[in-house]
Symmetry: D2
Subunit: 228 residues, 4 copies
Amino acid sequence: MEIKILDKGFVRFVEMLGNDMSAVQAARVSYGKGLTNIKRDRKLLFYLMENGHHTPFEHIVFKFHIKTPIFVMRQWIRHRISSVNERSGRYTEFKEDWYIPEKIRTDDNINLQGSKLSSDENLNSQGLKKIEESIQRSFEEYRKLRELGIAKELARIVLPVSMYTEFYWTINVRSLMNFLNLRADGHAQFEIQEYAKAIAKIFEEKCPNTYEAFIKYNYKGDILKGVE
Amino acid sequence: MEIKILDKGFVRFVEMLGNDMSAVQAARVSYGKGLTNIKRDRKLLFYLMENGHHTPFEHIVFKFHIKTPIFVMRQWIRHRISSVNERSGRYTEFKEDWYIPEKIRTDDNINLQGSKLSSDENLNSQGLKKIEESIQRSFEEYRKLRELGIAKELARIVLPVSMYTEFYWTINVRSLMNFLNLRADGHAQFEIQEYAKAIAKIFEEKCPNTYEAFIKYNYKGDILKGVE
Amino acid sequence: MEIKILDKGFVRFVEMLGNDMSAVQAARVSYGKGLTNIKRDRKLLFYLMENGHHTPFEHIVFKFHIKTPIFVMRQWIRHRISSVNERSGRYTEFKEDWYIPEKIRTDDNINLQGSKLSSDENLNSQGLKKIEESIQRSFEEYRKLRELGIAKELARIVLPVSMYTEFYWTINVRSLMNFLNLRADGHAQFEIQEYAKAIAKIFEEKCPNTYEAFIKYNYKGDILKGVE
Amino acid sequence: MEIKILDKGFVRFVEMLGNDMSAVQAARVSYGKGLTNIKRDRKLLFYLMENGHHTPFEHIVFKFHIKTPIFVMRQWIRHRISSVNERSGRYTEFKEDWYIPEKIRTDDNINLQGSKLSSDENLNSQGLKKIEESIQRSFEEYRKLRELGIAKELARIVLPVSMYTEFYWTINVRSLMNFLNLRADGHAQFEIQEYAKAIAKIFEEKCPNTYEAFIKYNYKGDILKGVE
């Protein structure tokens, strides 16, 4: 299962540990019991979420393959309770592969760290053209530096943070919920919101009951409610 | 797959994320490549272990169901990079279920924190009898306190640390290797060594190449070498 | 600064990293600025707490020396984002030092994992007497086993979980707040609530503004509100 | 105490928790004792390090203020057991402040991820000129995009990874030693090695005994030995 994000990115589900009921299974050890029937298990699952008993959700683990621009990766990596292996720009040549936004966003005077879509068609075409040209030019410089024999790890310092990178991401559902609370939210940057929505979609498909309980009792963001 | 430990304990393999080659798969992202053939993949796996590139091993995750005495659990829980859900003595009544060692161990004057087996048959029979009686008596007290209506969470304070408990344990292979380095070692207490050896056995069976590389390049203990 | 807890326990403040304004100092890096004046700094501090920007609070770190019964320690240690060094029962002989509750608590039929104080004077005197005798007897057994030369790590298995232990605890304020959310709460066991209240008191004294913001915006428990 | 790194970066010591003997103090709890005399304390400190008892070193915590290029920050941030607050490119305008290397490095055919200094004066002047021009041009584009009113979070995507950023970094000595094992090493990229050496210097000055024991028993890298 792979979801395309932005112009060239993706979120690909690789595999998972456990299933929608694994939190119940783990929690039942606390009561010295195992799974019973779906109705009672579901009841316990919602009880755990409502009462902030989040450790049982650590026994469900997702593994994703992500392709995203460097500036998004820089926000992503701040979530420490997860495992990441990223493609290395020291080993690997950067390809002609970067992110260009679909629309221009201007300063948002309400949310100072955020932005708002511009309706100015002129600004849109002009801005996007400038961004494209600038990145293209930086990449040509990188290529020339490489042709001169300059080391990959050094030549790349001229490359912009819009370049795409890839990584494997393994994260348990407790930490995943925290990621969604922060990134599937209007205060996060637009680009990482797009990824967070895709993660949420895969989470919902693989763990419908856990996801439902999460949205109902633990989700602190504002954009996934709409998704429902 | 379940391995019996001590007199009534066990290590039960529940499920796992990934497989023997998952570290290679994750590491290859660094090189912008995927799996190739077993010979080259195995070569990379050993290279990663030898050179201390341990993050790729975080993408293999094991889930176990453990039954162990409280005093062993107290040592176990110190490994923070893992997920634990333990049976609660506040919810659940303790059953007549505790650990009695097979043999008496006396002070070890070389390893001051350790112990050595006693060859004194008299001491063995006498010591084991005393231990059994003391624990039996404490459990009877617990039962009486419960009969008086005293709360589980309070009545249990008379119970000894030899009582058995159970927990679910989810841990990635990088952290698992660290656990084995510390607990599958002659300096660890005998009882937890027994559990560590069982964990190692399951690890070896599920990930033979990773285990072989671990023992060759990363294992710092002394008892698993003999096992091979 | 040391606070006595239960009959023989304590929470002792050892030292701390940073101060009440360290979160603001760290957060200001995000804005490329340092501290300004107390009024604006306090405003930012409350803003961070209200909006769930908790990472800056990781730059304040507390170190405590704790003495608590083993069954409390077993709950305490579940908080993984902290550093713990506990007195070892393998190195060190246990002393005649255990916890006896002041009052008996019986099963609580509303909160099944909890308990309620008993008003039955007869039950109180009888229950406490039984607990005391049982623990006393177990400790005598431990002493006899030691006299027979049985190793400390083995002899201790007859000791009850009411025995006192000691540990050093280093924890950042973000994790400390989480500890208080779970343990300074009516659902936690009475004994650990007592410790949590002491931790909260020290936190309040050392970081009054941070504590005030915590109680106002982040505290999820029910017993500290009363303290205010 | 501040150490200048590269052309415009720095490592600034902010404050610390504990001191050179804090690991001994924490470890002694295990033995139920406190500090004794420097000779015996030092002996225990070296014993802990030699025998891989690293948890006591978590009770010493350093706080640094770092200024470094984004591509170095990207490597730095992979060390998860630490606390980071970075200046935000969403809140704050980027200044005309980037890294230009002193010398050109070319592909290293032995260490494929690494590089080696070029002795070709022509290549040096030409390469450095190209790098400078490319980054200068990208920054001008950023400035123009900002003048058009394009949001900071979006305009920055054209900026190269050589731009300087700043962050607060709080890390305990156990995790710090791991950082030095990986980054104060010839396999790490030259730029982060420079920072790691500065961190090591401050560590040595603040905790001479701990540092000496680290280098003797725990350090796995190759460049700090020379420093001694």
